[in-house]
Symmetry: C2
Subunit: 196 residues, 2 copies
């Protein structure tokens, strides 16, 4: 199993790191066949709050056929998130993952590019819910039925309401790619003892 | 307020990202005077599971007087964590932070270099608790009184038991550097609604 993690400029590191570490623990400690490839528009991507991360691939090198899932961390508008998250080249990558029925897992405002791509039209999803729900209103404008739950799963698309949900989204992705038992094993090894 | 985040080779990104984003939300969205500086032995640090991060400073450029706290993410032995975390130059940095009474916040096995530095001798702390508690046994060998709680605070030193505690450690650090009210405001904005 292979997960593509797309880092738009201004991504939030807490919403990125969960995909790296949760899939990493699964692979390293339990021999689960799951790998992660990081990708951006440039090799060096600067996060919200200015952490520089070197990604493995640039977007033009990606063949959707090579992957089983797309994971997207959210980010801050004032750090340029939507400049890249709303870029037509990324929106078309999202459409291709959806067309092939592959999983798309997003955290917080990363639901917005998925909404803008059109693939959530008439479907259920959520995004950041505080501050008068202005991000949910934006998502609604893309024809999305907003559901006020921390994590919303509509077939192949996982969306979530806030940074707090980050590990839960990554565990949901791991479960969809493996099994509930394997996910639970990894979750417990990482000290998550309450229910998902 | 200024926090130094030290990235040893093989650090875990989930245990690093919480310091960046939680302090970042506090500063960016609530104007709280708190900044973060990343530091390593080299400018490019490769995490456990191979994420390359460019840090702002190398360890020889650090003057402890410039900082109010030291934050240390844990990491995997098989990715080289202890090669750098146990380096005498880092241990001596830890001793200086402790000598000046500054906060040292660690997640999971990052308690081990703090133990090895000697500053936890006769004091209360915890570390990774699963797998027959082998990491806790190692910490005990440094003269530490192991306490089986998710997060243990002994005066200026915060230790924790696993990756799951990462956001809670960062929120504890934020609270110590600001106030319980300010920390709660940031915590709620990030969607953490249950009790810390």
């Amino acid at each position: 199993m292979k997960v593509l993690v797309f880092l738009a400029k201004g991504f939030e590191t807490m919403e990125f790191s969960v995909f790296i570490d949760i899939m990493g623990w699964a692979r390293n400690d339990y021999g689960i066949d799951i790998s992660v490839v990081t990708c951006g528009f440039q090799k060096k991507v600067i996060s919200t709050f200015n952490i520089s991360v070197i990604v493995e691939k640039t977007i033009n090198e990606i063949d959707v056929n090579d992957f089983d899932a797309l994971a997207i961390p959210g980010g801050f508008e004032e750090y340029g998130f939507y400049e890249e998250a709303y870029d037509e080249r990324f929106l078309s990558l999202i459409r291709e993952f959806n067309k092939q029925g592959k999983i798309i897992a997003t955290i917080c405002v990363a639901a917005l590019p998925v909404g803008k791509s059109g693939v959530l039209n008439g479907r259920r999803a959520t995004t950041y819910y505080l501050r008068d729900a202005y991000r949910q209103k934006q998502l609604k404008e893309f024809g999305v039925n907003i559901v006020n739950e921390p994590i919303v799963i509509d077939k192949n698309i996982i969306t979530s309401c806030c940074p707090e949900t980050a590990p839960r989204v990554a565990f949901q992705l791991l479960e969809k790619l493996t099994s509930a038992e394997q996910m639970e094993t990894v979750r417990k090894a990482m000290g998550f003892s309450d229910k998902i």
